[in-house]
Amino acid sequence: MGNGSGSSKQDRRKRLASLSFSEKVKILEKLRDRSKKIAASRSKPARALDKPQ
């Protein structure tokens, strides 16, 4: 499923690590908001149509 080799993943991690703290904090905030959305969607009750018959 991956779209890159181990070395390109490593390159990506290095590139991200080399960003300024301000830039990395912005990414952290996006990751945090995404995690919160995922958590919220999991806690929503199933809709009637989603319920098993």
Binding site: L28, E29, L31
Partner: protein, 175 residues
């Protein structure tokens, strides 16, 4: 985060807290690629006048609650970040706080623990996520081995470090 740090800096100016430093996952992000986290760990010295009484975070909570910030379990939400204030619980954390490096986020001054202290604290805390973070630090080669050794020896963590090495690192790659 900018708004969060501005409030925390104002707390420092107002004498509610002394020196502070970002630790935990956000602190690690100063050195590593960003990794998802829901909160910010702020290690904080309480001013001398407050420390002379019983060590308590109550003045911090009172200050922030009076300004409309909400408490959520062990966190206080400042800006859009839940913040956990942590007075240092041992000499290692006190040293990490004292040695924190100055930086800035969007022009706001702040302090972050050194990579070596973050690794030592993670080693001491020793949850699976702490061990994973140590491995990230080592993989990214952002740890000064001499500085880390000095900290490990100074705080009696050499045995723990040896166990960590035995468990996770190849003998020929761990210095």
């Amino acid at each position: 985060m900018k708004a969060t740090l501005e409030i925390i800096n104002q707390m420092q100016t107002d004498g509610i807290i002394g020196k502070y430093a970002i630790g935990g996952a956000v602190g690690a992000t100063f050195y590593l690629e960003p990794a998802a986290t829901l909160d910010v760990d702020i290690f904080v010295m309480l001013p001398q006048t407050l420390q002379s009484k019983l060590l308590s975070l109550a003045p911090i909570y009172e200050y922030l609650k009076a300004r409309g910030f909400k408490v959520e379990k062990e966190h206080i939400v400042i800006g859009d970040w839940p913040v956990q204030f942590l007075p240092p619980s041992n000499d290692l954390e006190r040293e990490a706080l004292a040695g924190a490096v100055e930086t800035e986020v969007e022009g706001v001054k702040t302090w972050v623990m050194t990579a070596e202290h973050l690794v030592a604290i993670a080693l001491n805390t020793a949850r699976p996520k702490d061990h994973a973070r140590i491995l990230q630090f080592l993989e990214q080669k952002v740890v000064n081995a001499d500085k880390l050794n000095h900290i490990l020896i100074g705080h009696g963590l050499v045995l723990k470090w040896n166990r960590f090495q035995d468990r996770y690192l190849d003998k020929d790659t761990n210095g």
